[in-house]
């Protein structure tokens, strides 16, 4: 007797694949622009607004060989690093306070953050300027209570940019941390307390480790967001504290040196990717197995 084998007819059905089309278009578009940038970055500069023929690494060697340009890079990496750290601490405190608050307070705080979040980036930055400027409310208040003699000179300095970056990126930190706090079952705290852990120890032993995924998400988003800041240093630094994005913009839109701008952008891209990789590796070590 011959075994009966029944072949399931396999007509490759292509129609479901069409659902991937929008995603493919978006990815294709980004890939295309990126490839244009890579392409520009290895072309010689033959005058403003022109891109020459032939391949060269000159743009990269110019960038990487110049302490002036590397200064922008170093400054950007450094200010973003410490601002991310400050944002993380501040964001955690805000998220934890919201977590501990009554539902009404939580709602109001969340609403304020969301409104902030959806307000145009430029407007938010100007708002910060109004607060920390020479005639801003912070300066006036401190003068009024006699804490300072001269008006504040925070604006157009590194400190001003740092304050702006922290304030503008806070929502990106608060929400992931808040979500991870809310996801912790209340009974875990009760259990820790019943086993003899004080509030402090319950926090460090149970709550904090369990919010690490939220902190990691916040840190990665905020670091990238701050590293690529353009408007905040532009408005609050006023030319006295430019970051990488400002340099790239100036190269492309003021000097019309597209190859140099593209090379700087590529360096930035690689460094940002490396930073994410390292951050994620670090957090994988810190995040508890679950």
């Amino acid at each position: 007797m011959t075994p009966i084998t029944r072949q399931i007819p396999r007509h490759p059905n292509v129609w479901p694949m069409t659902l991937l089309l929008p995603a493919a278009i978006v990815i294709g578009f980004f890939f295309y622009t990126l490839s244009v940038m890579v392409h520009f970055s290895v072309r010689p500069n033959i005058g403003p607004g022109q891109v020459g023929d032939g391949l060269t690494l000159e743009n990269y060697t110019n960038f990487l060989g110049s302490t002036f340009y590397l200064g922008y890079l170093g400054r950007s990496l450094w200010i973003s690093a410490y601002c991310t750290a400050i944002t993380a601490v501040l964001g955690y405190v805000i998220a934890y306070a919201m977590h501990r608050s009554s539902p009404r307070v939580r709602l109001i705080a969340g609403a304020i953050l969301i409104v902030q979040f959806f307000t145009a980036y430029v407007i938010r930055t100007y708002a910060v300027m109004l607060v920390i400027g020479k005639n801003g409310i912070l300066s006036k208040a401190l003068l009024a209570i006699g804490a300072i003699e001269q008006p504040l000179t925070l604006l157009f300095s590194e400190v001003g940019v740092a304050i702006g970056m922290v304030l503008v990126s806070l929502p990106f930190m608060v929400f992931p941390i808040f979500n991870s706090l809310q996801a912790i079952p209340v009974n875990l705290e009760t259990a820790a307390t019943s086993l003899g852990a004080s509030r402090m120890r319950t926090f460090w032993e149970v709550i904090f480790p369990l919010t690490m995924p939220g902190v990691a998400a916040g840190v990665v988003i905020v670091y990238l967001f701050e590293l690529t800041s353009y408007i905040v240093p532009g408005v609050l630094g006023g030319g006295y504290f430019d970051m990488m994005a400002n340099l790239i913009y100036a190269k492309a839109m003021q000097s019309f040196d597209y190859p140099a701008a593209a090379a700087a952008a590529m360096v930035m891209l690689v460094i940002a990717a490396g930073a994410i990789y390292l951050l994620q590796k670090a957090f994988r070590l810190l995040t508890p197995h679950m």
Binding site: S194, L195, P288
Partner: protein, 355 residues
Amino acid sequence: MSHVVLRNVRARYGATEVLKGVSLELAPSEFMAVLGPSGCGKTTLLRVIAGFVGYEGELIVDGKSYDDVPAHRRDMGIVFQDYALFPHKTVSENIAFGLRMRGRSRAEIDSRVDDLVRLLQLGSLGQRFPSELSGGQQQRVALARALAIDPKVLLLDEPLSALDKKLREEMQVELRQIQQRLGITALFVTHDQDEALALADRVVVIEKGMITQTGTPRDIYSRPVNRFVATFIGRSNILDARCVRVANGQAECVVLGSIPVRIPAQDLPPAGEAIPLSIRPESVRVAPAGAAGNAGMLAAGEVMHAVYLGTHQELRVALDEGTTIEARIVGREAFACGDRVAVGWSEEDVTPLRP
């Protein structure tokens, strides 16, 4: 092996009073079940003892007032319904948690964890994470973690309700054995009457924030004090009786129109009121109408509903007088819907209830 006394404990959540003056005493090594429907305040009672709910009244453990002792200094081991194991810690770390919080030495912690792993047969699971364990194993870890601190009282909040029936029954036996071996005082909160009866030395029935009845499982089942206890724990036929006369401390009453019943006179309500009587379905005898076994039967009726359940048969009999009565028949006799039957019961199986 602690001795626990609660005196007139009241607790409220916002405007609703959840415990309305509960007084309770747990003897050393006693296993007490707190039984009640959901929302009756039984979990609140547990949380009062553990120190997580503010209350009025007194809590005394081993002669010492605990009212001002914060939760993390009370030494109460809690096993939660959802286990509440720390997901980021291994089984060993979970068990060791309470000991670490007490600053015990590494060596002491290790040997205690080993003991508990052995006691709860956790075998080689020490390095696993809770998410890698089955429900039953998580249950054991939760119990081990609570026992590790050598708690004054073991508080169990419906700990077995998430397990399937077979595992639950196995854990009941094991829980009882461990509790007896360690001689630990335990308070077990449950809405499962079978569990309460199977496990506890004494059962406390709570209804709407107040204790309705306290007693051994046998007391509670065979002498329920009111309608609530009679119907919440097991099933009951509740029949209203009327007193005819009182003589020699006995009240002569009638139920279902003309069936005489005698009950102790001290159970009588104020004159004129009906007396609810409880008769358990398994105390009701049923025989085919007109059969020889009808001697001593009290009423006649027709089987409305018959369910065969293997160990027994459940019948619902519509009595000619108008009332429906439930019966639980063990034995070979089979009844079917529509059968004419005679029913009866012995006077000692009739329990007068508080109206």
